[in-house]
């Protein structure tokens, strides 16, 4: 009787809101060996992200924003500097920081449900029934309950990214790291996902670091927008976006912010050109 009760509560426990992460990045540098010598991808980058904050990193391609995301994820190691989540240094990948990639990294040998279940199966303290219930909850949250038995190749690009989102959310991470997850989608699907992501972020209370080169997207999603410049990758400026949510990507207020950020971005890339000349 007691055991049965504990099993029942476990799925619910698993779905309970947990405190989102606090992130502290200090003086992180990273260089890569390229064909033309070492390239400084990140040059003494420092950034703090508050619990439950939605932060967007924007910049031209090659500015190191994806490298920074990979370092936060623990997939790459910085040459120097530290990354701490909730006061503890990041030493490797871990499921409290899940990543959503630009290309859907869904596993083609599993169906939609199997993909969402993958991360849950790696959580030891759950029964199979709990895992099942949790996976169902997240598929419902991203609006794909009807497709749980579908094969991955049968889904549209937008649906694949929804499944990726469900898979990243399912193990209940404290932080989501998103690397241009909507870049390959058409505009209409993207707009829909902006709405969904804002709703899910509020509902599940996560810290989100979101990398993009789309300024409007950054202004629409972020509490703060961090502007990067390339070669060497540096943080140049940051903008607080204090518009009420949920935000509409087409709103005029948002366009004002986006214009301001774009102006800053351009000035840094011109700066770069001037230095090069």
């Amino acid at each position: 009787m007691h055991i049965a009760h504990r099993q029942r509560s476990s799925a619910a426990e698993e779905l309970e809101l947990i405190a989102p992460s606090k992130l502290a990045i200090e003086d992180v540098s990273k260089s890569f060996k390229g064909a033309s010598g070492a390239v400084l991808a990140l040059d003494r980058v420092s950034l703090n992200v508050a619990e439950g904050e939605f932060v967007c990193l924007v910049g031209a391609s090659g500015c190191g924003k994806t490298t920074l995301l990979n370092i936060i994820a623990g997939l790459e190691k910085p040459d120097s500097g530290t990354v701490c989540t909730d006061g503890k240094p990041v030493t490797g990948p871990g499921r409290e920081r899940l990543v959503m990639f630009q290309e859907p990294a869904l596993f083609p040998w599993l169906n939609v449900f199997g993909n969402v279940l993958f991360g849950l199966k790696l959580k030891p303290n759950l029964t199979n029934k709990d895992r099942h219930d949790v996976a169902k909850y997240y598929l419902e949250l991203v609006g794909l309950s009807r497709f749980e038995r579908a094969n991955i190749h049968e889904l549209s690009g937008g649906m694949k990214q929804r499944v990726s989102l469900a898979r990243a959310l399912a193990p209940n991470p404290r932080m989501l790291l998103m690397d241009e997850p909507f870049a390959a989608l058409d505009a209409l699907t993207r707009e829909q996902l902006y709405g969904d992501l804002q709703r899910i972020w509020k509902a599940r209370n996560k810290t989100i670091v979101f990398v993009t080169h789309n300024v409007r997207e950054a202004a629409c999603l972020g509490d703060r927008v961090i502007v990067f410049s390339p070669r060497p990758g540096r943080i140049r400026e940051e903008f607080a976006v204090d518009l009420p949510r949920p935000r509409d990507i087409n709103s005029v207020d948002l366009a004002v912010h986006a214009t301001e950020i774009t102006k800053a971005l351009k000035s840094y890339s011109q700066l770069e050109v001037a230095i090069a000349e």
């Binding site: 994820a73 623990g74 997939l75 490797g92 990948p93 871990g94 499921r95 920081r97 899940l98 990543v99 990639f101 290309e103 990294a105 596993f107 083609p108 040998w109 599993l110 169906n111 993958f118 991360g119 790696l122 959580k123 094969n151 991955i152 190749h153 049968e154 898979r167 193990p171």
Partner: protein, 255 residues
Amino acid sequence: MKRFLLAALFFAVLLMIWEALFRAKIWSPVLLPSPRQVAVYLEGAAVDGTLVKATIVTMRRLLVGYIIGLLAGLPLGLLTARWKVWQDTIGTLALGLQTLPSVCWVPLALLWFGQTEAAMLFVVVMGTLWSVVIATETGVRNVPPIYRRAALTMGSKRLHIWFKVILPSALPFIVSGMKQGWAFAWRSLMAAEIFVTILTGFGLGQLLHYGRELSAMEQVIGIMIVIVVIGLLADKIFFSPIEKFLHRRWGTSQA
């Protein structure tokens, strides 16, 4: 149903052409028996048990050797994909030996093992092994790195990644390697059975050989048909369902 009828019609026509050629008496009936004579031989051999016994002997040799080849080939393929040292040594060896027609192992096996079951087994294992090694290695190398990264962030570790990510991801390659290994093993076993007459078992290849010795063409053709049918059945019963599943899951098209 329509497809089945069409296929049935095709084979009926083939039989009719054969019968017509026989009746035209272009070749001596010793060289070209009628379909009926072959059927009579097959029926007789089936009733007195030679056919069943020979099939069992052959299939046992094939399956034992094939399974050994698979069990050795899979881990070797994984090792060659994972570590450079293995790739440069076993990998290169596998690549070289795979180009060697597996029939070429028969003389060596005969000298090493004599007229024994071990010689048969050796030839079948050699036929299977290298294809499986190479297919596994290729499959593992073709796993998109992003799968590994995604699995890592979800808390998957070394062995878990190998079994739950890399192996399943390489499955289409591995299955085609298994199929090729099967084909090579089957061919080399037939060659070995024709060359090697041993007393521990009388396989299909040996029946074929004695058919020739006795100039019993209906036996030669009858056994050839049996061999073809076994090959077809292995494909339809074992490989086809797996391939269908892979095509459905991965979305690679198959009509």
